[in-house]
């Protein structure tokens, strides 16, 4: 009797496993190649988002927020990625950005969301979208002065202030800070004009002794943060605090600190979060991270576009905030 039970269980188990595997195989084909239009839901709105294809997790969170809100607004979200070095001659957008914008424009979408790198000129985008009666919502890390009508942005100035506040809380007037800023896509955009840098400066101006020893830009590559941090520490070994503009810089700086065996000697205040940043915080390598709410930016952008489309909102400028992780006073 026992062999029969064993073989029967094995047979039924194998059948169930087989059905599950084959079903997954068929689902894989059904979801990629054999899609049936009748089985796919039709949304009320069509929103196109043109986003940099950057490695920083900020953009991942941004797209998550876009999708979340699009789902809530019954909108089909179409994300077009352009390469991070999207700035063409002068301050003109690259041809790639233009193509996606044109496609979105001619497809008669219900809203176009464009992430605007520092220095990119977007006046023509706004004008064409307006002439086509399509809501246009630009996104930016910091709201540029050229935004006159609509846009959703973060606040790097406040972020810098918060980061330096944390450092000053730990080191006081002995703070000798190094700052890692994002890749320079503005072609000549001065370091001192960066909102983050300005925020730090604003914070330390009343604290004699505390100073910014160095500021560098990270390259737009996987190891850009490490390279920037290594360069900065090599040139300024007296740095005892490093402030990072994004997650990539944070992870790179932490790696350099670990490699050099100076964990605890150099305070790292990072930005944003992902699993690696969170792990570094838990390990104590990174003291804290100023998490910009990229998902909120995405949600706000979609809601603003759809709101304008159906006429319940007017163009407006929205600034999303940040939060500190771990919260002040909390143990990592």
């Amino acid at each position: 009797m026992l062999p029969i039970v064993v073989f029967a269980v094995a047979m039924i188990g194998a059948l169930a496993f087989n059905i599950a595997l084959v079903s997954r195989s068929r689902s894989a084909l059904a979801s990629t190649i054999l899609r049936n239009p009748a089985g796919i839901r039709t949304a009320r709105f069509h929103i196109a988002a043109i986003i940099p294809d950057a490695v920083d997790p900020f953009y991942g969170h941004l797209v998550e927020g876009l999708r979340e809100e699009a789902d809530r607004q019954n909108a089909a979200l179409q994300v077009f990625y352009y390469s991070a070095s999207a700035i063409g001659e002068g301050s003109n957008p690259s041809e790639e950005v233009w193509r996606w914008f044109e496609i979105a424009l001619r497809s008669k979408t219900d809203g176009i969301i464009l992430f605007q790198p520092k220095g990119m000129e977007i006046g023509r985008f706004a004008a064409e979208a307006e002439s086509a009666a399509i809501p246009f919502v630009p996104l930016a890390m910091d709201a540029p002065a050229q935004w006159t009508r609509s846009g959703v942005s973060g606040d790097s100035f406040s972020q810098g202030k918060e980061a330096s506040s944390l450092v000053l809380g730990l080191l006081g007037s002995a703070a000798r800070m190094g700052i890692i800023l994002s890749a320079d896509t503005s072609q000549g955009y001065a370091l001192a004009e960066e909102p983050f840098y300005r925020g730090v400066m604003e914070m330390i101006k009343n604290r004699p002794g505390a100073s910014i020893v160095a500021a560098v830009r990270e390259e737009e590559s996987i190891l850009g943060g490490e390279d920037a941090c290594a360069r900065m520490l090599s040139g300024h070994p007296d740095i005892n605090a490093i402030l990072c503009i994004d997650a990539k810089a944070t992870i790179g700086a932490a790696q350099v600190i670990i490699d050099r065996g100076i964990v605890g000697q150099v305070v790292i205040i990072g930005s944003d979060e992902n699993s690696e940043v969170n792990r570094l915080i838990e390990k104590g390598v990174v003291h804290a991270s100023i998490v910009r709410d990229a998902a909120a930016m995405g949600r706000s952008a979609v809601a603003l576009a759809v709101g304008q489309r159906i006429g319940i909102r007017k163009p407006e400028r929205i600034s999303v905030g940040y939060h500190v992780k771990p919260e002040r006073g909390a143990t990592p």
């Binding site: 062999p3 029969i4 073989f7 087989n18 195989s25 894989a28 239009p37 039709t42 044109e102």
Partner: protein
């Protein structure tokens, strides 16, 4: 008769086919599992084939769209630059094809990246056709500024279509590759699970076959052993209980019932045999009583005709007559005494026919002394008959009857003939008279005495006596025949077998 049906256990039809049903159901389940697995794999293969076909079809469709777009753009350029009718015809033909292609593309806000790209492409093609047709119309209207502007717009849109369709190809391929990779990863495991499934199904089938073989043959083997034991006469050979509700149970129960029935049948037969033996013994006892009764009856009959004391008295009379010198009386008494001595001997004895004839002669002498010449007697004897045996004292009663009943009321007397002769293997002793004859009922009543069980009251004791004694003495081989007609006399014949009587 033994009621075997009542001895049998209640019939349970539900057992019929239960074992067979289990075998069939198990086989069907295994086959069903294999069919399901095979079907799923077949569906997956079918999906794969469709996917590959669709991939190629999409790729070709995109390529055809690009080729048609290029042809349209070339014919547009040709027409705008040369304004010849051939270019216009080409433009109309290709733009129509392009429009038809555009109609097949998705235009809804589907929650799917590829379908949204299709929508983008559809609107781009639509936009291109509007610009291109506008340019043609402007050319016809000789509005140079407009057709140059629209042509430029169409060219840019065509560029976007090329860009987007190429992107879509890439996306298609990327998604297809992702789908195929996932399919391959899963289907490789599915093939392994298929192998496990087949192996498990094979082993399960073997295990089930072994189990059912054991289930069927083991109790049958026990039944076989029990049947052999029953064959040897061990009707109470114990059969282990069988718990399952199936055909074997039916067979098992039937065999146990048969054992019970056989044992009960044997018990019944034994009881009957005992009863029959008792009945036989009782019958033997009754026969013995009957035999003794016959002996007593014979003795009684003998006593009836031959009172013993007569002989002694007559002997005394004969001596007295001699003493007184009365010779005639002495002769009478001598013959009477001789006759009585003959008659006093056991009537069951056998005597020679000559002795019996001699007895009759003495009796006739006595009758003549009494009746004178009123009756005429004749004795006809074959010498061959004289040496044979006959029950004693069978002729004298017949002669006595002939005188007493046949000739008594006839005034001039009559004739009496006694004969003894051989006829084949029989001796025929007869007494005939010329008297008044016998009624048929009297004849039948007299002959019924041959039956030992007969109790019919008799008027003529002598004839009845003779008929009964001939039958008893010869064990039924001898018989008495009576031929008579009223007014024409009677002949009574004793037919005896030759040789020693039974």
């Amino acid at each position: 008769m033994i009621d075997l049906v009542s001895l049998a256990r209640p019939w349970k039809p539900k057992r019929q086919g239960s074992l067979r049903n289990r075998i069939i159901v198990n086989s069907i389940i295994i086959l069903l599992v294999l069919v399901i697995a095979t079907s799923y794999t077949a569906f997956a293969s079918f999906d794969l084939a469709r996917s590959v076909e669709l991939l190629f079809r999409n790729s070709i469709s995109m390529e055809e769209l690009r080729a048609t777009l290029r042809e349209t753009q070339e014919s547009l350029t040709g027409y705008l630059s040369a304004k010849n009718s051939e270019s216009l015809k080409d433009f109309i033909r290709t733009s129509t094809s392009l429009s038809n292609m555009e109609l097949k593309l998705n235009k809804e806000n589907k929650l799917d990246d590829v379908f949204l790209l299709e929508k983008d492409l559809a609107f781009l093609v639509d936009s291109y056709l509007v610009s291109a047709e506008g340019a043609v119309q402007a050319k016809r209207g000789r509005n140079v500024t407009q057709y140059v502007s629209l042509y430029e717009e169409a060219r840019q849109t065509a560029s976007l279509i090329e860009f987007l369709s190429t992107k879509m190809d890439t996306i298609h391929l990327g998604q297809s590759l992702k789908g195929f990779s996932s399919y391959k990863a899963n289907i490789s495991l599915a093939l392994v699970s298929n192998a496990v499934l087949l192996l498990a199904a094979f082993l399960l089938s073997i295990a089930l076959i072994a189990r059912y073989s054991y289930t069927i043959t083991e109790p049958l083997a026990r039944l076989s052993v029990a049947a052999e034991a029953v064959g040897r006469g061990e009707y109470d050979h114990p059969l282990p209980p069988y718990e399952n509700e199936d055909e074997i149970r039916t067979l098992h129960d039937a065999f146990v019932n048969m054992q019970d029935s056989i044992q009960k049948a044997f018990a019944e037969l034994t009881r009957k045999a005992e009863l029959e033996r008792s009945l036989m013994e009782e019958r033997m006892r009754v026969l013995t009583y009957q035999h003794r009764l016959k002996d007593a009856e014979l003795l009684a009959l003998q006593t009836q005709i031959n009172p013993h004391f007569l002989y002694n008295t007559l002997s005394a009379g004969w001596q007295l007559a001699l003493a007184e010198g009365n010779e005639k009386t002495a002769e009478f008494l001598e013959k009477l005494a001789a006759f009585i001595r003959y008659a006093l001997k056991p009537s069951t004895r056998f005597v020679l026919v000559s002795e019996e004839i001699e007895c009759v002669r003495q009796y006739i002498w006595l009758l003549k002394l009494r009746f004178g010449e009123r009756y005429r007697f004749r004795i006809e004897v074959q010498d061959e008959a004289l040496g044979n045996e006959t029950p004693a004292l069978v002729l004298q009663p017949l002669v006595e009857n002939a005188i007493a009943h046949g000739l008594r009321d006839i005034e001039d007397g009559g004739d009496v003939i006694v004969s003894a002769r051989m006829e084949g293997e029989t001796i025929r002793l007869s007494v005939s008279d010329s008297g008044k004859g016998m009624a048929k009922d009297d004849i039948l009543r007299a002959l019924s005495a041959a039956d030992p069980e007969d109790t019919t009251p008799q008027r003529g004791i002598g004839l009845h006596n003779v008929v009964r004694r001939v039958a008893l003495a010869t064990g039924g081989l001898g018989k008495v025949e009576i031929e008579s007609e009223p007014g024409h006399g009677t002949r009574i014949t004793i037919v005896l077998p030759v040789g020693k009587p039974i």
